[in-house]
Symmetry: C2
Subunit: 335 residues, 2 copies
DNA sequence: GTGAAAGCGCTAACAC
DNA sequence: GTGTTAGCGCTTTCAC
């Protein structure tokens, strides 16, 4: 990799390195004539400054890290898109890390950000919301952090969330109105913000509608696909099983579809299905899937915008809690 | 961001910077005792070396760039997963760029890699396969490049592809065997490797089966969603329209579904549908979608592995063309 | 076994 | 308007 650098430019132009540097950044100290010479040669030789040399000097990398639990749920895909676009507009580079729902990996990854690799972090938590020392360690070093979707409740951070409680309440109410009495809820995890908020919305709706909560109907996912499949399969095939399943994550809804096919359980006749999901094919499924859809792209975008604001105007910035609304799409699976 | 660095460690330990540096890298020059003192303090203070200082010295960033046309087709999602995992295993960081099918953006992005930001590049081309000067410029600077899926034909590079020609041939043959005579093919672009290979497979199958090729049945996508929708809609609603549509990209198949719903065109009775796709919901759709599915994860993994091999064992490495097989899943949409 | 010093490519304070 | 120099954090060569 024989890169072209300031030194080379300077020697070719018979100028000093600093003159070239200033010329390239259009400094008013430099004569128009010299600027032109420098710029022309730089363009001709395709000069690109070494970003790491600059980072070292300026303590800025113009890079942000995005740490996600997975990339299978479409929610995260659209979020990445939003982050990516906002970052691009501001000239930031995006490092991506996927934890595969492994908290240990999250810790390992996050630890590396302690020394300048990135200017800031956008994260949707894999770790339990109360086990976030690895994040506070970064925080203590002054690294700006934005949480989205699966947030921590420990700090005074920027949080991008949706109205999970209300959405779950609304979704559960819909199921009850459709005549369901035995509504199971599959929780993504009881250690994760969205898992708790959504469960609470579900519980409150049952309570308000005078339906007794049977703890057996709360399925607590393990985030391991085999475990989850087994969990949902046992619930759906049980004698006197649920007449509705409300899943908190897209992947669980798909697992439920497969199980219903396997056991010839009719959706929605035997069981109604509702899920938080950003599936682009929800309306094309057999039957079409009723979803609570989060504004994933907008959340990603907002996360990146807030982070960059924190980076570029630290004075004008203060941590915000931005909450956006999800949309309930009623389709065949809840008819 | 008050980071902890070698200097600070050294002063705390009353040692020189170089001793600390060596101790941390377990040099045999350093006494076991000193090593232990250094390591202990480093751990205690959560010392992480500044990656950019190291990059500057060693001309290595342990970072690779991944440039993709889009992130909506599930193919790319799974590819990212494969890349990410392989990179992680080898301690590499992954920068992600999405061009949104915009060749200008691809050029802009790629140009920045000319000076050390990344050690290598994995790319699925947005630009026409014959307009890749921006890539050769990097190549000339000695940056290792791996193409996957949408590859260039210009250079002697590592190429990770699938058997597009054979798959398209097989898919088209299936449609013919199902009784279709007027088979339309929606090409992703006539300037992109996969577009051409797949079209050729389609053509050859028609020819071998004695079906005359009507150029009208070749739909050439623009990668603009409105344009493409219009294109497909016009084709499907035309008098004496096609009795089969074979799309080269997942998104086009979904567009076709929507159009068929809108115009009440029965799939597969009125028109059979087949698509290259990695949709996890293909088997759950109404009707289930027949797909040619690429080993996306494995391709991503292979791409990253090949790139890292090129980076770490340049001597043992030579450019390879790795071709993997897609699988044809016959489902209701072609019955 | 430990330390001093040079230098990676760049910026910025300070000469001239 | 241009050049000299120090230094960002680290590794590495060379003294001692």
């Amino acid at each position: 990799m024989e890169a072209i650098n300031l030194k080379k430019l300077a020697s070719l132009l018979q100028l000093s390195i600093s003159t070239v540097s200033k010329a390239l950044r259009d400094s008013h100290e430099i004569s128009a004539d010299t600027k032109k010479r420098v710029m022309d040669l730089a363009r001709e030789l395709n000069y690109e400054p070494n970003p790491y040399a600059g980072s070292l000097r300026k303590f800025k990398s113009k890079t942000i890290a995005v740490v996600l639990p997975d990339i299978i749920n479409n929610f995260f895909i659209f979020a990445i898109k939003g982050i990516q676009e906002a970052a691009y507009l501001k000239g930031y580079h995006v490092l991506i890390y996927i934890t595969n729902e492994n908290p240990e990996y999250e810790k390992e990854v996050v630890r590396q950000f302690a020394n300048g690799r990135v200017d800031g972090l956008i994260i949707s938590l894999t770790s339990p919301f109360d086990k976030t020392e690895h994040i506070s360690a970064l925080e203590d070093k002054g690294l700006p952090i934005v949480f989205f979707d699966r947030v921590s409740q420990n700090f005074e951070h920027t949080l991008i969330t949706t109205n999970n409680y209300e959405s779950a309440y609304k979704g559960t109410t819909l199921l009850i109105k459709q005549g369901c009495k035995r509504i199971a809820h599959c929780q993504v995890s009881d250690k994760i913000s969205i898992g708790i908020d959504r469960l609470n919305g579900y519980k409150k709706a049952l309570q308000d509608m005078g339906i007794e909560l049977d703890p057996e109907w709360i399925l607590s996912s393990n985030k391991d696909i085999d475990y989850d499949t087994d969990l949902i399969e046992r619930a759906l095939t049980r004698k006197n099983g649920p007449d509705a399943l409300f899943t908190s994550v897209e992947t669980h809804a798909l697992i439920a579809y497969d199980i219903c096919r396997k056991h010839k359980i009719d959706i929605p006749k035997k069981i109604k299905l509702l899920s938080f999901s950003n599936l682009p094919t929800a309306h094309l499924m057999q039957p079409s899937l009723s979803t609570i859809t989060q504004p994933a792209y907008e959340m990603g975008r907002a996360a990146a915008e807030q982070l960059i604001l924190a980076l570029e105007k630290p004075a004008r910035f203060k941590p915000e809690r931005i909450q956006m609304d999800s949309i309930l799409y009623e389709r065949e699976s809840t008819r």
